[in-house]
């Protein structure tokens, strides 16, 4: 196990380095931050001067060497837009995003297991139809629209919840629901279909032939065998939340998180901040993947860790 984690960490390091290089090169090819930062009236000399200050006039390989040296100390340079260390901004915003994902995805996970299992008990029954219908609804409604709708109903009309921004726990409710709803739908549908499959397996017949109580058969046997697929998808939900969906939700709810920061960094051509964000997200994704593999090994003894 230890050896496995070590090997996976090395692999993950390669992934992180690869992603960082791609972002490094891409950001420098796509746009010129200087153009955004200086007023339109700036002369060519002023622009060149500013470029020189930032070190952006040097050849890309030279820039990369310096970048790599700074990387060792997690120094990504100062954000061009906020004029303070990029990594500092990331570390300040990251907890907001992680707690938001934890709330949204946590509720989704807790609800998906029982709802999916109940639906699976009688395929085609009332509970099942409701599950499938609401699942499809949750999947097909765009998040930005869902977010706006929730704000409209609960914050504007009924005035029971805050419209946006971060604060005491009530502030978490709407963004977490918006973020978690599609995940809940996907996870619920997955639990439903895997539990239906598992309930038709021969070992479930064995369990029933043993005279076990129904809840023992469902929870002890069928649901347990549905877990490997479930945690794979849950992990994917976490990653895709981190890497994408929070951008939408945090924008809609003016949530001061990593997604919003990424959005602003792109808008301002803030390549140093963008690099720091991508680097951090890449590390988190690699870590989640390793955690998933280890969890698999614990749930399913047949899994071979290579």
């Amino acid at each position: 196990m230890g050896l496995f984690i070590l090997r996976r960490l090395l692999q993950g390091l390669l992934v992180v380095i690869g992603v960082t290089i791609v972002v490094f090169v891409a950001t420098r090819l796509v746009g010129d931050p200087v153009r955004v930062m200086l007023p339109l009236s700036a002369t060519a000399e002023e622009r060149a001067e500013f470029q020189h200050q930032l070190g952006l006039d040097r050849p890309i390989p030279v820039q990369f060497v310096e970048f790599a040296q700074n990387l060792a100390t997690l120094n990504f340079g100062d954000s061009l837009w906020q004029r303070r260390p990029a990594m500092g901004i990331v570390l300040a915003k990251l907890p907001n995003t992680l707690t938001l994902i934890a709330c949204g995805l946590g509720v989704a996970i807790l609800l998906a297991l029982p709802l999916g299992a109940i639906a699976a008990l009688k395929p085609g029954g009332l509970a099942d139809r409701l599950t499938v219908f609401s699942g499809l609804f949750g999947l097909s409604v765009p998040q930005f629209w869902m977010g706006l709708l929730l704000i409209m109903v609960f914050a504007v009309i009924f005035r029971v919840l805050p419209t946006s921004g971060i604060g005491p726990p009530v502030h978490y409710i709407l963004p977490a629901i918006t973020l978690g709803l599609p995940s809940l739908a996907r996870l619920m549908m997955l639990v439903r279909s895997t539990v239906i499959d598992e309930l038709n397996q021969q070992y479930v017949r064995t369990a029933r032939a043993k005279g076990l109580h129904f809840h023992q058969v469902l929870f002890g046997h069928a649901l347990r065998n549905a877990l490997p697929a479930f945690i794979t998808l849950a992990g994917w939900e976490f990653i895709s939340g981190l890497a994408g969906y929070t951008v939408v939700v945090e924008t809609v709810f003016a949530w001061p998180g990593l997604g919003q920061a990424a959005m602003q960094a792109i808008q301002h051509n803030d390549l140093f901040l963008l690099q720091a964000i991508v680097f951090t997200v890449a590390i988190l994704i690699v870590a989640v993947n390793i955690a998933l593999d280890v969890a698999h090994k614990f749930i399913d003894p047949r899994v071979e860790l290579g």
Binding site: R7, Q11, K122, Q201, Q202, Y203, R205, T206, A207, R208, A209, K210, G211, L212, H213, Q216, G220, H221, R224, N225, I299, D300, P301, R302, E304, L305, G306
Partner: protein, 692 residues
């Protein structure tokens, strides 16, 4: 209720089970009546779809939507198990007083749960044991079912155990609460024959010591013969005959029972032709009225359209038949039935075949045929590359087959027999050049074909064809029979499209016993036996000289199996084709083969003429294998001595050094564990053993 005896443990009374499907109601059971007494072993015998497994499931309360019990009653010690009150009582009886062993041990255990916990679950549910009490009882149970090192095994997961071991675990689970009735639903069907022998011995022993009643459900008459007091024969959801085992075997009263027994090949008998019951078991969406067997029955007459009465046969068995005790099946014809001559293409086809080969009879008669072999295999070996998981996993070479040598003569059938993992399918595929040989040579008509490629290989493939095991999976469900059979002809440029081949294909289908109108239908319209005929027609289309038949009948029901075996033999007699007949069923192999080779764990251990191999086996493994095959005849089976060798077949990735059998062999000494014995002996009987 005079049918039901007073002291019966379990009574099944006119039980009916129906399944609501999209295509209509499927009748699973149509009024089955049965009872089993204390300490009795009763076998339910029947083919697929006869309702035998449904009976077991109904008793265990495992009939699920879309199935439902639509009539009749199940009583346990006189109390009903059906209805709201009955179901509640049934849940406490299930697993405690009545226990079930399923067919497939590979899928019947929860893969994510330690086997000790799975067994312990029953004890905690029914006997209220604590975790530690249950654990120590689990160890006793594992010991009782012959699992070595119980503490270690109890902590393992199902995938770490072999099939035989898993079935022992299933049995341990079943006997955990000392039930009074054990229902075993095809308990050994998924196991290899030497492992089957171990499990049957275990069941018989447990029945004695625990005074169990056993309800054995099987399609294999051989398994029944040695084990059971009474037999109930099922057909189309009803029980057609119930009687004492010896009586049913010796003087079967129902025509179906007679046909079933006569169509089962016997290891101790080598009549060339089996009785086959024409037709196929009925479609249970619309079972025939009256006697369901009448459409296949040679004795059928007008009154059979009425429900037959239950009568006593001469031997005292209960029979549902209008004409019990009459001999339904005559002595089978020694020659193939005369065929209706067609448009001449068929005659031409036979004529084209003949010159290429000597008549089968001649080849079979001479122990050393005076002709060059059609196929020669010398020291054939096949390695597989297995990659280990992960990004940096290295590929590992595993030797699946080593040192295989044999000859196949024109018009001859060589039976290739082995248990799972023996390499018999690998051999077939390597010979057909569908798999690269890692070592050794393959000669076809004296020409070395080990390394031919491209066009040469394509030409070669016209001469060598394959018949697959699973007639359901090997025909494309979206293609018409015409297109399926025409495919090889088109692929090899004989015809441009299927319509051009229509006449030819009609002849081919006639040759395999299918009617003309089969051409434009799709595979789903055909039964398993008919599909296998289509597969054979497809293999014959290119007029091959040699066919590899890989378990061609093992997926078929007994009565249909005989039809296909007979067909293969007829085709050989008429066309002079050679077969490499790959099978695990030694009884079938004895019927069809001229010579037989035995494989064990990727090595050939013995090859000889059929009769000398079956009468005088020399390798200890061959002896064990032959003795393990049950003979479908009670007296004979009881008199046979069974050699049951401990241990499992070694896994392909962990083969032992030396002779692969040495771990299980009673003759083994140090030399056997170090050095692999070569295949040697008199020319017509070779054996790979240091001691024989």
């Amino acid at each position: 209720m005079d049918m039901i005896n007073e002291g019966a443990l379990l009574e099944i009374d006119r039980l009916a089970v129906e399944f609501d499907t999209r295509r209509g109601v499927v009748y699973g059971l149509r009024g089955a009546t049965l009872s089993i007494g204390r300490g009795e072993t009763l076998a339910i015998v029947g083919e697929s779809g006869s309702g035998k497994s449904v009976t077991a499931q109904a008793v265990m309360g495992l009939i699920d939507v879309p199935g439902r019990i639509s009539g009749g009653d199940i009583r346990w010690k006189g109390e009903t198990l059906l209805g709201p009150h009955g179901s509640r009582a049934a849940r406490d009886i299930r697993g405690k007083e009545i226990a079930l062993v399923f067919q497939d041990p590979m899928t019947s255990l929860n893969p994510l749960m330690k086997i000790g916990v799975q067994i312990g679950e029953v004890l905690r549910r029914h006997l209220g044991m604590s975790e530690s009490e249950a654990h120590s009882r689990v160890l006793e149970l594992l010991e009782a079912v012959g699992i070595p090192a119980p503490p270690r095994r109890a902590a393992q997961y199902p995938h770490e155990l072999s099939g035989g071991m898993r079935q022992r675990v299933m049995i341990a689970m079943a006997i955990a609460c000392e039930p009074q009735l054990l229902i075993a639903d095809e308990p050994t069907t998924a196991l290899d024959v030497t492992i089957q022998a171990q499990v049957l011995e275990l069941l018989a022993g447990l029945q004695q010591t625990l005074k169990l009643s056993v309800l054995l459900i099987t399609h294999d008459l051989g398994v029944v013969a040695g084990l059971c007091h009474r037999i109930a024969v099922m057909y189309a959801g009803r029980i057609v005959e119930t009687g004492l085992a010896d009586d049913v075997f010796n003087r079967p009263a129902h025509p179906y029972t007679q046909g079933l027994i006569r169509s089962t090949p016997r290891l101790d008998d080598h009549t060339d032709r089996l009785v086959s019951i024409e037709g196929a078991p009925p479609n249970m969406l619309a079972p025939p009225t009256g006697c369901a067997f009448r459409v296949r029955c040679p004795l059928a007459e007008a009154r059979c359209e009425q429900e037959p009465p239950l009568v006593q046969s001469r031997t005292g068995a209960t029979v549902a038949c209008w004409r019990p005790d009459e001999a339904a099946w005559g002595i089978p014809a020694a020659t193939p039935q005369a065929r209706v001559k067609g448009n001449g293409y068929y005659d031409q086809m036979v004529a084209e075949y003949q010159p290429a080969s000597v008549p089968a009879e001649a080849a079979a008669a001479a122990s050393r045929p005076p002709v060059t072999p059609l196929l020669s295999v010398r020291d054939l070996g096949v390695d597989y590359e297995v990659s280990s998981p992960g990004f940096w996993g290295k590929a590992r070479k595993i030797s699946a087959l080593k040192g295989i040598s044999f000859d196949l003569y024109p018009g001859e059938t060589l039976g290739l027999v082995g248990e799972s993992g023996s390499g018999k399918t690998t051999t077939g595929r390597a010979v057909l050049r569908r798999l690269e040989a890692s070592e050794g040579r393959i000669y076809f008509k004296g020409q070395d074909i080990t390394n031919v490629h491209g066009d040469e290989l394509r030409q070669l493939r016209r001469k060598m064809q394959l018949v697959f095991q699973d007639p359901y999976a090997s025909l494309n469900p979206r293609m018409k029979i015409l297109d399926i059979v025409a495919e090889p002809l088109i692929a090899h440029g004989v015809v441009r499209n299927s319509d051009e081949a229509r006449e030819q294909i009609t002849e081919l289908l006639r040759l395999v016993g299918l009617s003309r109108d089969a051409t434009d239908r799709f595979p789903y319209a055909f039964s398993g036996g008919q599909r296998q005929r289509v597969g054979i027609a497809r293999a014959l289309a290119l007029k091959p000289e040699f066919i590899v038949a890989d378990e061609p009948v093992s997926a078929l029901d007994v009565s249909v199996r005989a039809q296909v075996v007979n067909l293969l033999q007829d085709l050989q007699k008429e066309l002079g084709i050679s077969y490499l007949f790959i099978a695990h069923d030694l009884s079938v192999v004895r019927h069809i083969s001229h010579r037989v080779a035995i494989l064990y764990s990727g090595r050939m251990v013995e090859i000889a003429d059929r009769d000398s191999l079956y009468e005088h086996p020399r390798h200890p493994y061959t002896e064990a294998l032959l003795s393990a095959v049950p003979v479908p005849h009670p007296e004979t089976q009881r008199a046979r001595k069974r050699l049951v060798y401990r241990g499992d077949i070694p896994d392909v990735s962990h083969w032992p050094a030396g002779c692969h059998f040495h771990g299980r062999c009673p003759l083994a000494d140090e030399r056997c564990s170090l050095q692999a014995p070569p295949l040697q002996g008199k020319a017509d009987h070779l054996v790979a053993c240091w001691h024989r």
